[in-house]
């Protein structure tokens, strides 16, 4: 038994979920429920930051591990939660009767993801994966336009359930070939074909969450049809958690290293190419972000496929800095889409005249996604590419660089719409104070991580070393 104190960040989220639950039962006004949820959301970020350098095992040995890796990713996850709550004061794209309930699901999803990045035992891992997934299925269904909401949720839940079933089958094969559910024991396994197949199947659940190529089909529809705040949360926190899981699986899969590397490389190239080519044709901003997610999942896999400390650290850096970068366009989506509609290229035209802050947020987000300095997107890609070169994957870097060039086109087109095209509707965009705060936080974070990457990079390196230390 370790110290229970290490569980405080998760406990904060759990208490937040219970408070939100009680407030929802009492049917308090939505504004009060939102206020309480936001306080707990910010408290969970602070708690995670306090325990950022903690390490140990709060529960029974070998099941739940708090280390540099888990704490760094938990900061990304709780950060996404707090940002989602900040921009989601009105939760305007949710059905009116469900708005009070939304924070409950956000908190439970966060709790599941936090447990997921700490889990070092197969059953714990699977249960936390499902805890986070179920809550997300529900909030994806609460779209104001019911017809669209139910369709989107049906697609999301069925894809998700199928992916997690395939994952579980893979986990059963891993259990069979290792004879244990503890990751520390699994790493000692001798390589066998069953083990390699098990790992690849188990990765399907991760690929679904990351929207990597063969499991990306849910992303464009869910992004387009689910409520804005739900998508913002799925698009940030869920990715961070999935990367945590991916790092753990890839490391304990070391006995089957070769096969996994090849699989990851192939999926990486396919994801980024398909994602970028499909994104070019999109007019709906949320659909465009969905395809851009597919492409970015491809970039991420570059770092992890190297299986080196530097590669894993660069993957972690990429996903942690990806949170503020990708949240920036979602702030715009949440604010502009307050009537429940989706912003399109046409509706963001002349955004600069209507709200300079919002336009600048969009600019920073698009620069970050495209990888233009001084945003963190540039540094992130730099780290990923240099990790791949170190391993001698030259052709991979060339493909990725070509892809990044293609993506410049559609990201900059959005910036051009916002800044150079005159507005058709010149009315000023109203932003709540909380949404303004969220916009400022993501802009400052995206630029600061890009201009002064040293501290974040050191944290990522420490996290990668901690992950490898478990792997022994």
């Amino acid at each position: 038994m370790g110290s229970l104190e290490l569980f405080l960040p998760e406990a904060t989220v759990l208490v937040g979920a219970l408070v939100a639950f009680v407030l929802a039962i009492l049917r308090v006004p939505q504004r009060i429920a939102w206020g309480a949820a936001t306080v707990f959301g910010i408290a969970s970020v602070v708690m995670t930051a306090v325990y950022l350098n903690a390490s140990g095992e709060p529960f029974f040995a070998g099941i739940y591990r708090v280390d540099a890796l888990s704490q760094l990713l938990k900061l990304g996850i709780t950060g996404s939660l707090a940002l989602t709550l900040l921009v989601g004061r009105d939760l305007a794209s949710f059905r009116v009767s469900t708005r009070v309930d939304v924070p409950i699901f956000l908190f439970f999803a966060t709790l599941g993801m936090m447990a997921l990045v700490s889990a070092t035992e197969l059953l714990t891992l699977y249960v936390s994966l499902e805890l986070s997934a179920y809550a997300l299925y529900v909030i994806a269904a609460l779209q104001r336009r019911e017809r669209m909401g139910s369709e989107v949720a049906a697609k999301y839940v069925l894809y998700g359930a199928a992916a997690s079933a395939i994952s579980l089958y893979g986990i059963s094969l891993i259990y069979g070939s290792a004879g244990s559910t503890y990751l520390s024991a699994i790493m000692q396994t001798t390589m066998s074909p069953v083990f390699a197949v098990g790992i690849l199947l188990a990765l399907c659940g991760v690929f679904f969450k990351l929207a990597v190529f063969p499991f990306h089909a849910w992303a464009p529809d869910t992004y387009e049809g689910a409520p804005h705040e739900a998508v913002a949360f799925i698009g940030t926190a869920s990715k961070v958690a999935a990367v945590g899981l991916l790092v753990r699986i890839v490391l304990f899969a070391a006995p089957a290293g070769e096969a996994i590397t090849i699989a990851l490389l192939v999926l990486s190239v396919l994801s980024m190419t398909i994602g970028n080519l499909a994104a070019i044709r999109q007019h709906d901003l949320k659909r465009l972000l969905a395809w851009s997610t597919v492409a970015h999942a491809g970039y991420l896999l570059i770092g992890l496929s190297t299986m080196s400390t530097v590669g894993v650290a660069s993957g972690l850096f990429y996903v942690v800095t990806y949170v503020p970068i990708v949240f920036a366009p979602f702030v715009v989506v949440c604010v502009l889409g307050r009537d429940g509609s989706n912003p399109t290229k046409a509706s963001i035209a002349g955004l600069y005249q209507r709200s300079p802050l919002l336009a600048f947020t969009l600019l920073v987000g698009m620069f970050g996604l495209a990888g233009i300095p001084p945003t963190a997107g540039f540094v992130g890609k730099w780290f990923l590419f240099s990790a791949a070169i170190e391993k001698g994957f030259y052709w991979l870097v060339i493909v990725a660089a070509l892809n990044a060039t293609v993506s410049l086109y559609y990201y900059l087109l959005i910036v051009k719409e916002a800044y150079l095209t005159p507005a058709t509707d010149a009315s000023e965009v109203r932003m709540s104070g909380a949404a303004q705060a969220a916009a400022c936080v993501v802009v400052v974070a995206a630029i600061a991580f890009g201009s002064f990457p040293r501290h974040v990079w050191e944290a990522c390196e420490a996290a990668a070393r901690a992950a490898f230390a478990v792997a022994g």
């Binding site: 019911e146 017809r147 369709e151 697609k155 839940v157 069925l158 359930a161 059963s172 259990y175 559910t181």
Partner: protein, 101 residues
């Protein structure tokens, strides 16, 4: 019954489930396919537990957890399918065409 028999049985069950997910157009049928896949994994866990590991309980505990999780999953999925049905009086994938994946 040997380990191989059980694994083969589970594999067939898994393949049937996967086929249902990929080929059937009815949302309920897809859900049943998912259930078959989960149960294939359960049989794997029990077979490995019985024939491979020395641990007295782990495989069985995993299966109990999975049964519970599967029930929760079906509850969520069925309620969403019901919502789809209420909206458009049909539960075929073809009818979900408002959005083009």
């Amino acid at each position: 019954m040997t380990l191989q028999t059980w694994l083969l049985f589970a594999l067939v069950l898994f393949a049937v489930g996967l086929y249902a997910v990929l080929a059937r157009r009815n949302l309920i049928a897809i859900l049943i396919g998912v259930e078959l896949m989960l149960n294939a994994a359960n049989i794997n866990f029990l077979a490995f537990h019985r024939f491979v590991t020395n641990d007295p309980a782990v495989g069985q505990i995993v299966v109990l957890f999975v049964i519970g999780l599967a029930a929760a999953e079906v509850a969520i999925a069925l309620s969403i399918v019901l919502a789809v049905y209420r909206e458009r009086k049909a539960i075929d994938v073809q009818d979900l065409e408002e959005l083009k994946g």
